[in-house]
Amino acid sequence: MTDELFDVRLVVNGAAHDVRVPARRLLSDTLRHDLQLTGTHVGCEHGVCGACTVLVGGAPMRSCLLLTVSMDGAAITTVEGLTEADGALSAVQQAFVDCHGLQCGFCTPGFLTTITAGLRANPDPTEEQARELIGGNLCRCTGYQNIVRSVLRAAELQRERAAT
């Protein structure tokens, strides 16, 4: 038994990668193990926890539920790609540092990608909207208190940065 392999081109964080994968290979495994972009984490393998969330064409998607072969040509942003070109933390990343929005850090990449997309759609969320925005991601450490604060702080930081 040998799996048939398929050639796939992924554009990850702006860089093109050509990979050769079996049809069943998950995008999360391709990112983590083939491209060694290990910032994307896998917490449940069935789309419930959100730790593996990446942006596909800007939209948050669960990479544990995507097959790599279905992503040919897709533009993917992982947590590593959120950092600014000059190496500075993005507003969302900085907000998590400012607000103690992470403890063990395992779920954090999925929150960061989800919130990044959410704030693009709604740059000025109310607290209730901030809760809704992260309503599909699990965290076992923080009780979400400081993640909600991080969302609001990120929106504030984005506004501050846009003003300067």
């Binding site: 984490h41 990343q93 063990c104 979400y144 400081n146």
Partner: protein, 794 residues
Amino acid sequence: MTRMFGQPIPRVEDDRMVRGHGGYLDDLGHDALACAFVRSPHAHAEIVDIDVTGALDVDGLVAIYTYEDLPDRLADPLPLLIPHPALTEGRTQYALARERVNHVGEPVVMVVAQDRYVAEDAAERILVSYRSLPAVVGIEAARAATQLVHPDVPGNIAANMLQTVGDVDAALAAAPHILELDLSIERSASTPMEGRGVLARWDPESHRLRLWSSTQTSTGVRAAVASKLGLALVDVDVITPDVGGGFGVKIMHPWPEEVLVPWAARQLGRPVKFVEDRREHFISSAHERAQLHHVRVGFDRDGVILGLDVRFWHDHGAYIPYGIIVPMITSTQLLGPYKPGAYRVEFDSLYTNTLIVTPYRGAGRPQGVFVMERTMDAIAATLDLDRTVVRERNFIQPDEMPYDHGLLFQDDRPLIYDSGDYPTLLDKLKKLVGWDEFEAFREAARAEGRRVGIGLGCYVEGTGVGPYEGAHVVVEPSGKVKVATGLTTQGQGHQTVFAQIVADELGVPLSDIEVVTGDTRRFGYAVGTFASRAAVMSGSAIALAARAARAKALKVAADALEANPDDLDIVDGIVRVAGVPGAEISLGTLAVLANPLRYAFDDAAKAATQFAVGDTSKPPVGEDDEPGIEGRDYFSPMQSTFASGMHAVVVETDPDTAEIKILRYCVVHDCGPLINPRIVEGQIHGGVAQGVGGALYERMAYDEAGQLQNASFMDFLMPYVSEVPERIEIDHLETPSPLNPLGIKGAGEAGVIPGAAAFASAIEDAEGITITAMPISPSELFELRRRHEERSSP
């Protein structure tokens, strides 16, 4: 210099983690072979045959191992880690099942292959035939003992333990009031976002093993693996990478996989990795919490307890590798901030055909606090007293500290509370939540057709349990300070808080300090991270080691500056002589001077060659001296230090759907002086969320056959943001401990402990229906209402 202790500074860990540059177990070892395990689908069965032939032609398969392949000590049962005289029938599992399986998920066959996909392909082609046996599921079935989990353990009883203080029978006989209560808590689990994982590299040239494990104890894993594989401790390095949460489950060691993976790596001469998937975590790691309790309490007309008699039954699952720590904690910490009068507590620890039990954050305390606080509420209801009044009347008073309960704690040492102020905590809680104004709120809500209730839960938590931790602090020639302690980190921010301690003790900027935890290469003696002990134990050891390094620095500086050590101070990494401007020397220079060298390999070292420094009439390193500016010390206290706290929750219950909504959640907490308030509050937030889960959502739904029906995040209801309180209101009291150099107490577990107790109290208050079992779902509350109405209608 601002004192760093007490500052709510951001964490030094965060920068790399938010960039996606954390290094968790499965982020390592991209070249490693992968494992999959064939696990028992039965709760109780004999293994009749294992047929691997179907798997042999899977491309990429490397090896298949069953029990028959295990050599020497690897073929013995895994260790019983914490023996106890009361644990008379201890049974542990084999690394791979031998002849019988005793719970769903027990590993039977190990498959090693080029990746996990292929390993699972091979695993599903392995045919294991079983003769199934009746399963013992739940405490009632275990107590009935019509079926036995282990044929040679009568009554399914692994341990029976009894402790008494005073004459309980006489106290109860003389009491004006007696109440009896039956109280139960269901199974739950730590459920960190990252499961277990282990990676091993065997170096055949140096004959050494390097192991990474997502563990709460790297030294424990090292000792266990070295013993099982017949290796010297010095030939095994165990490194704890970033760990994606622990909450207790990762203190268990060695897991079968933790000994099998390094063994396979040595057999195969290639790195091997095991990464648990989520279903495996549910059925093959560990659970906790399930206990039934029967309480008899005698009290006087004021509600003062005269005698307390508690009998309980603890479900520890199929094996008992971690001993009876959890029920021992329940039986002692149940007492909380109260004097029980005469006290008798007896428990049986029972085998069932379900997953093993090891401590989960709180570790027996949520159950004990539930029992005691339900008892307090029942006394208040009987006497028609305010619930806080009954508690106040039973409190240990501050002037009674240290308070000796006359019992033995989980470390087999006397249960003596070192410090605490429970009346002040209760006053703070009442103010924070507005206890005395609640009736007005209830009336207003009632007028709108709403049903609300308030509840509280009080606890005392033994933290910083021994035996010891140690630390090493060294100043590099660059002036940077490297700190190592052996216990591990799973998100608590140790790199930050330990650096805060060193910054103050040594007088160096935080940015010059780097802390390493859980790496046996850097510090080989350690116990581990559990029992809210890291800050107390390693924090204290680090303070002591930093003080030793400081003393050495001042001694060398005194020589170099020709000053009296008493006139020296260290600020921002520079030693200065008081009142003598310009008389100063940096810690980095001192580190160079303190290490007399033969070789000038750089400019700094040139300053310290034997031709440059030293008194030629003395040996370069004095008789009782050592080179370098460093300190190593250990902290080993006589006993635990006791933190405390009280929670109040306000709930609203839907009159139609019985949905339970949290309106307020208030915490007062006393863990002594806070090293970093924002980190302590983060710990409380997370604990409270787990308390909410344990009270309202989370349970392990085993069916009668021992199948776990909800072994996924889809079905095990771990709280999302929508389930936790919108605000967790926190107030602190800081009662220092006299037992350690920093006066601190542990804070890691506190947030979860009184959750079930406080919610039961609040729901009972809202509904007027006695709550005796947690967790409680809307459908269970609905059913309680129905039965209550049946009973009250004629």
